[in-house]
Symmetry: C2
Subunit: 181 residues, 2 copies
Amino acid sequence: MEILDVIRNRYSVRTYQERPVEEEKLQRVLEAARLAPSARNMQEARFVVVTEPSLRSALVEAANGQKFVGQAPVVIACCSVNTDYVMRCGQRAHPIDVAIAIDHMTLQAAAEGLGTCWIGSFYPDKVRPLLGIPDTVEVVELLALGYPAGEPPLSKSRLPMKAIAARNHWEQALQDSEKGA
Amino acid sequence: MEILDVIRNRYSVRTYQERPVEEEKLQRVLEAARLAPSARNMQEARFVVVTEPSLRSALVEAANGQKFVGQAPVVIACCSVNTDYVMRCGQRAHPIDVAIAIDHMTLQAAAEGLGTCWIGSFYPDKVRPLLGIPDTVEVVELLALGYPAGEPPLSKSRLPMKAIAARNHWEQALQDSEKGA
């Protein structure tokens, strides 16, 4: 499958089958994260791969009650061991670097027939003790992973190209859209 | 080509051919960004696609003197029109959302035979006036895009899997590596 088709087909999966994820598929998903680039090749992203049912159940509360977090056969706590580096442009590097690794995982997962969901609604202070994550380590996102139950949405709701991209110069159209402004 | 192969083959390209990027390839790269997910589907990412030679030359200084920024036939200023939303986990959404869109572009580009380089070393206050980007819009990253000159590196320098991923519980090995700690 072409990458653009995988990107097109990927969606946020919030209902999962009980069926476990095959170890070789999980390893390829993690390999996609391992190969991700990072600022100055810092490689600060770390992953706690949660498959133990009691831990996944406990993560539901840490994820603000989102039940699918306990239904997904795998939940990956996506962390950073370095939160200090600020790029010249003013951005902290680690949220971007961890996001690249997660995006790689979501696409590899989709290519494997697996679903994922980025989870930003959680309490890091509740996740850390459950998984033994040190206070010095930042939990950036959780990622649910497993076989989707139910059907994909019929289409993606996305702005048209002219609302998001301009050539050589900013255009008013980039600010006129309802979304994002 | 499988996604994992594209991920494996992608590298940061800092020397480019003069050859322009075909419009249909550029449009597919941008389409990969347009389809990217974002927190609450905010779709706050915006792109100024710079192909005009004098503007690309001017971007060299804005990018702290990195000459390849002027050599790449395309430089994309990757921006956000919404910088307010903080997720429950404490992360600002927009750097992560823009990173997802950029990662999509780097992979689609690699699948098209094109090279890219994430550029975080630049001065947003010098980029904005060149491209007419309003002060309210954050320039998160620049992305160089074009046909690579020269050869890819022989291998990627990456930590082994056991140094970046653990099962169900944090492990000391995740902090012992030289990189990132």
